[in-house]
């Protein structure tokens, strides 16, 4: 019998070692696996490469891992919280001293690099970034009249996701805008972990609403629904 449920967020991170590449889903707090990231901070795993849309701040998002000295490199489209004048000191110290690498990727290119990573496609061409400093060191090719840059796939050791519901096979149902990067990251990691508010038996989910089929998911952990807490705080993460 397949049962992907694990008993705790700590157990959900079993095998996540120093030097690992970790994808973290979510956008604007929606679909962000805050419990798994908190457990990763507690675990203290170091030299991580984190692939995420938004690098957060010292107190929000994956920024807590950066502030805790656990991150070697961030691959993201939004490295600096717009409203985060405070709480960024560690980030800038690490960055300016060369202990933190930041790879800035246009958001659609980031999503596609992850998608192709999960789909077994090693690279693709896109016009996004042509003529900008983000495209300048990349291989180019012209299709018709469109110049394009070559972008390579991203894969990870772990993906940390959040959805609303799962069943024991790992099928996931998301609420509202929770799908965002979670759907593509689920495909692109060796071990995909989802924190969810609720797990059902097989047949307990509305089948047509399953946006991530369980084949992409390895571990499920149940967490509290923190919606009311998140309503009260507009974090930048």
């Amino acid at each position: 019998m397949i049962d992907k449920r694990v008993s705790s967020v700590e157990a959900a991170l079993d095998g996540l070692e120093d030097g690992a590449t970790v994808m973290v889903g979510g956008f604007g707090g929606s679909g962000y696996a805050s419990n798994l990231v908190a457990a990763l901070r507690q675990r203290g795993t170091r030299e991580l490469t984190v692939i995420v849309n938004n690098a957060g701040t010292a107190t929000t998002g994956v920024g807590v891992l950066v502030a805790n000295g656990q991150v070697r490199k961030v691959v993201c489209s939004f490295p600096v919280g717009r409203t985060a004048k405070q709480g960024m000191e560690t980030f800038w110290d690490l960055y300016n001293s060369g202990r933190l690498d930041i790879e800035i990727v246009p958001q659609g290119t980031l999503a596609e690099r992850i998608r192709v990573g999960g789909a077994g496609i090693p690279a693709f061409y896109t016009p996004t970034g042509v003529g900008t400093i983000l495209g300048q060191s990349k291989e180019t090719r012209t299709f018709g009249d469109r110049q394009c840059v070559l972008e390579t796939a991203l894969v990870a050791d772990f993906a940390l996701l959040r959805a609303a519901q799962a069943d024991r096979l790992g099928n996931l149902v998301y609420r509202c805008a929770q799908r965002n990067f979670n759907v593509v990251m689920a495909m692109a990691a060796r071990t995909t972990v989802a924190e969810v508010y609720e797990v059902t038996e097989t047949g307990g989910l509305q089948t047509e609403a399953i946006a991530t089929p369980g084949i992409f998911v390895d571990r499920i952990v149940v967490v509290e629904n923190d919606a009311s807490e998140r309503l009260g705080q507009r974090q930048t993460g």
């Binding site: 956008f27 604007g28 707090g29 929606s30 679909g31 489209s77 939004f78 490295p79 600096v80 717009r82 960055y95 930041i102 800035i104 990727v105 246009p106 958001q107 659609g108 290119t109 999503a111 596609e112 998608r115 896109t126 016009p127 996004t128 970034g129 042509v130 003529g131 900008t132 400093i133 983000l134 998301y174 609420r175 509202c176 805008a177 929770q178 799908r179 965002n180 990067f181 979670n182 759907v183 593509v184 946006a211 919606a227 998140r230 309503l231 507009r234 930048t236």
Partner: protein
């Protein structure tokens, strides 16, 4: 020195002017910052669908506090609502919408726009780290790009320039520039002044604009709508 005292459009007046440009049936992405004001002033009688890059079509206005849902936010992390007929999807689909040419227009802020429509809006001068977010994808992928910005910097420097000296977001991608003093179309011939704010003239707009503006016909005056700011 002759100080220019002709009033400029307020942000809400500018938002209303941009909104008036949107056609019935258009799918529209609004960038973070000032463009998020535009959906508050959509002209009545037009069905315009707002896209948010985090995977939403049919974004509605900010909900009342007791209706807010933390899983329903826009690209700027603001709580939003979903209009009837709205849908949710992943980033792969959302950026297929953006990059596949499915959006009628993207409305973006800018640090600078060049004479030929180059856009700079993600990295401050001298910085090495900035936030492109989805702007590069939108700049190249939407069928039209409307820039919405103040005509000059707070210090009075040109933002409409011959060549951008800020890092670029996209090349020759801007369709129309909406500022607090003018509406300017980017054409093959150059920047064409279409409208001026009340009290402004082609000459006074030109003093705030580095490249030469083309004025093929007398520009219309921007119709300043009396808009009540939606209670937030």
């Amino acid at each position: 020195m002759n100080v220019q005292v002709t009033p400029r459009l307020t942000k809400t007046q500018l938002a209303a002017r941009v909104a008036a440009e949107l056609h019935d049936g258009w799918y529209v992405n609004v960038g973070i910052g000032m463009p998020t004001l535009v959906p508050n002033y959509l002209p009545p009688g037009r069905e315009i669908i707002i896209h948010s890059e985090n995977g939403i079509l049919g974004v509605g206005p900010e909900p009342a506090a007791d209706q807010a849902d933390p899983d329903l936010v826009n690209a700027g992390r603001e709580f939003v609502s979903l209009r009837p007929g709205g849908s949710f999807f992943s980033h792969a689909d959302s950026f297929a919408i953006v990059r596949g040419g499915h959006l009628d227009v993207a409305i973006l802020g800018a640090y600078q726009v060049s004479e030929r429509g180059d856009l700079a809006n993600w990295l401050l001068k001298g910085a090495t780290v900035g936030n492109p977010g989805g702007a590069m994808d939108l700049a190249g992928g939407a069928r039209r790009v409307f820039v919405m910005m103040e005509h000059t910097t707070r210090e009075g420097a040109h933002k409409i320039v011959r060549e951008c000296d800020y890092a670029l977001t996209g090349l020759a991608c801007v369709t129309t520039i909406f500022t607090d003093v003018a509406v300017i179309d980017v054409t093959g011939a150059g920047l064409t002044l279409r409208e001026v704010a009340p009290g402004w003239t082609p000459e006074t707009v030109q003093t705030l604009t580095e490249p030469q503006l083309l004025v093929p016909q007398r520009p219309r005056t921007i119709e300043v709508l009396t808009v009540l700011e939606r209670s937030r």
